[in-house]
């Protein structure tokens, strides 16, 4: 893949991640617990991670979070996204590096670490420890959505053919 092709693909994936972020914002919270989300954007991050590489996945997610927060969010939302997003991307990169797990396992780990990041920010912002009790519920939802997103991500990855 030439440098130009790589740049173009990175840009397209970042744009796709932003659109998916926006789409997800339009889905009303269907559970009573804040933080329960599908994590559609993670499909893009997974594809970037497996098709392009670790750095690309990380920066696509950074660009996505910064731009989406500026366009549709506020500073609180940014704090939550960046903490959850960075932690989950780092955990996914580490887990992928061990090469003991498939895309699904990596995605599940990413999902639950996203929850951990968000809870940490909530604990700091609200100055309360009580919120940590939401973690088990968030984890169960994170495992389910992470698995679903992981399967979708794996299917997408297997269909993308990169010409050398």
């Amino acid at each position: 893949m030439s440098k130009t092709q790589k740049i173009a693909l990175n840009g397209a994936l970042a744009a796709l991640a932003m659109i998916l972020s926006y789409v997800e914002m339009q889905i009303p919270a269907f559970f009573a617990v804040p933080g329960v989300k599908l994590g559609l954007t993670n499909i893009v991050v997974l594809v970037a991670l497996y098709v392009l590489g670790e750095k690309n996945a990380f920066f696509i997610n950074v660009v996505r979070i910064v731009v989406v927060s500026m366009l549709f969010g506020n500073i609180m939302g940014f704090a939550f996204s960046i903490a959850g997003g960075m932690l989950s991307t780092l955990v996914m990169i580490l887990l992928k590096k061990t090469s003991h797990f498939s895309v699904t396992g990596v995605s599940v780990a990413g999902g639950i670490s996203h929850n951990v990041g968000q809870i940490i920010v909530a604990m700091i912002l609200l100055n309360t420890k009580a919120i940590i009790w939401y973690l088990p519920i968030l984890w169960i939802s994170g495992i389910v959505s992470g698995a679903v997103i992981g399967i979708v991500g794996a299917l997408v990855c297997s269909r993308i053919v990169i010409k050398e």
Partner: protein, 130 residues
Amino acid sequence: MKNTLFRKNDIYLIGILLLISLLILGGVNLTKKSGAEVVVSIDGVEAYSFPIDEDLEFEITGYDGGTNLLIIENGYAYLKEASCPDKLCVHMGKINKEGQSLICLPNRVVVEIRGTGKTKSEDDYDTVVG
């Protein structure tokens, strides 16, 4: 693509994580007793405290002027109305057990159920957090 959809390790990972979540969830629900006090904190500072066995309707003014309507009824506390757009706290339902809480992030309001004095579950919970 050498990655299949599921590998053995993935199943172990998912299984172990699910088990941990369920154990914590079950443990929390079994050990919890009904609380005695409803404590309202705004931006991390304890502001009000009400007994849970007295019916009450109270408007909380949170951070930045946002409001939440706290209702205490038949030994349960819940938030009936909120000024924020998402109303997540309203959907969080009714709480009555020690340690349970209702949280409104935009208004930085935390409504927490407490027991009287320090209890065993309070101690556990401090160790978990470190």
